[in-house]
Amino acid sequence: MNKNLIELKNLTKRYNGMTAVDSINLTIKENEFVTLLGPSGCGKTTTLRMIGGFEDPDDGEILFEGKLLNNVPAYKRNVNTVFQRYALFTHMNVYENVAFGLRIKKVSKSEIDRRVKRMLKMVDLEGFDKRYVDSLSGGQQQRVAIARALVNEPKVLLLDEPLGALDLKLRKEMQIELLDMQRSVGITFIYVTHDQEEALTMSDTIVVMNKGVIQQIGTPQDIYNEPTNRFVADFIGESNIIEGTMLEDFKVAFDGLLLDCVDKGFAPNEPVDIVIRPEDIRIVVNPDEGMIKGTVTSVVFKGVHYEMIIESDTREYLVQRTMMFPEGSVVGMNVQPADIQVMKRGDVLCSEEEEEE
């Protein structure tokens, strides 16, 4: 296993009495691609900015290779940032933008030239040296911003919603490119986004945050398949969240049904939240063959699948299937035990839109 590079210990930031980041603990390893994911105002950007040195924590510690980083000014940290909307220097051409950090470090002219050229080649901007950044497209500016940061060979690259300003198609392409770059240069990426799909695509580890608190840390698979609470289940992908009761290990009840599941370790008769992903509900034509009987009330074509709402006696289910069942038809629904995710109820922090910064 790689060694720890950055450790956040009880890191806290308050703005005018509001707690933006609430005593978070996080360990980031070398070469890891970590994504801080959450709705706006969840504290993800503030956390990133504290690591970059642009915000002073009110409490807690930031350790970098075991050394305290709190009081080191931004310009002395071995960390580089790709900012929201890039923040390129518009009075300089592409070459000078990328060379900026190296010139400060008094790297020799020939070395600067070699490294800038190599970096521009890597981000596919060969021959753009003399162009001014204003004359570049969004995607190209984005690449300049990445090159400007990476050319300094930082131990960590911080990326603050770097693809937020790009259109969907370009965003998807850049996701793949960024991932390739991260693999090839072998440095740690800390990536902030509110786009759950982006997080799932790119990350080794996802840190889901809400209201300044870490909700769950895990691999994309963990986060998607085993959300620890209602917020995570709701934020990552679409889901049916049902209140139920854990009767005993591997037995969960809701709406008068008793189902097998793979979860254990709950108190007898503990109230729980149950997550069933829309794609995990199978439909059978004969209603009597299903565990749950329902009527299709809405059908929407989504390209890869149909999204249907099926109403049982007690609730509505969101179901995604490649086969279409017409509105009004009565069908049966089945769920595999492994596709039922049981979560502790706890006091749920629900998402609320707040102004970030």
Binding site: F54, T81, R85, I104
Partner: protein
């Protein structure tokens, strides 16, 4: 038909606007001393201008004050704009309104007020008081020219420089100032133009020891208009015209419009 009316209307407006200046320029080349009739073309009045010690001195004062007040007001105004830009929204609104008031204030009020101030603190009216007055009335315009550039700047630009290893001073020198340079240059040009252009405030703050061109023209005109005044006014008009063209040329290039 409608088009023709529009054209005529426009022509009349411009005729009214520019007729006095055209007459002035034409008569600055008039051989006859009379203001009423044309006595043939001459450059004598222009040559006279540069022979006249009084005029040369006034020209020297005018340029010296314009250069110094431009320099100082540009520096002070730029620093002020940097500060205002970092204020909270409420603070910024308050300061900007306070900044705009002197711009709208009648020159004569500003002039009398400054004179009263200088006298009350027992400063002798002269070169220094006139310079201070010019700096004072130029600063708000510099702020108004620089601030939009700062507002346009990506709020993370300074952070990006620090992130790449620049000290705060280096980031200011190599990134922020160059990024807002077009605004600073516009501000300086406006300050320079205003300084050359000003009569009212100069008149009240100059005292007897310092005389700039506009004051000189005024006092010469009281003794009867000599053709040299026409020549001098023509030169001043051309100077301001050229400066305005430069400013507008800059604006055409997609930079901020100030005037």
């Amino acid at each position: 038909m409608q088009k023709a009316i529009k054209r005529v209307y426009m022509s009349i407006i411009f005729l009214f606007l520019y007729a006095p200046i055209i007459v002035l320029i034409v008569f600055s080349f008039n051989k006859s001393k009379s203001r009423g009739q044309w006595g043939g073309f001459t450059l004598d009045w222009y040559i006279d201008l540069f022979r006249d010690r009084q005029i040369r001195e006034a020209l020297y004062f005018t340029i010296l004050i314009a250069v110094l007040s431009t320099l100082i007001s540009t520096i002070v105004g730029t620093i002020a704009a940097l500060g205002i830009n970092n204020m909270t929204k409420i603070g910024r609104t308050v300061v900007l309104n306070m900044n705009n008031l002197p711009v709208l204030n009648p020159d004569i009020v500003t002039g009398v007020a400054l004179m009263t101030l200088f006298i009350s603190i027992r400063m002798e009216l002269g070169f220094l008081t006139m310079l201070i007055a010019h700096i004072v009335f130029s600063i708000p315009y510099v702020i108004l020219a620089v601030l939009p550039k700062l507002r346009q700047l990506n709020k993370h630009t300074a952070e990006a420089a620090l992130d790449l290893g620049a000290t705060p001073a280096y980031a200011m020198r190599k990134v922020i100032i160059p990024e807002i340079m077009p605004g600073i240059v516009s501000g300086a040009l406006i300050a320079f133009t205003l300084s050359i252009d000003d009569f009212v405030i100069s008149f009240f703050t100059a005292g007897t020891s310092a005389t700039n061109l506009s004051i000189l023209i005024y006092s010469m005109a009281k003794r009867g208009v000599k053709p040299t005044i026409n020549a001098l006014s023509t030169l001043m008009f051309l100077t301001v015209l050229i400066l305005m063209l430069i400013i507008n040329k800059k604006n055409d290039k997609g930079e901020d419009i100030i005037i």
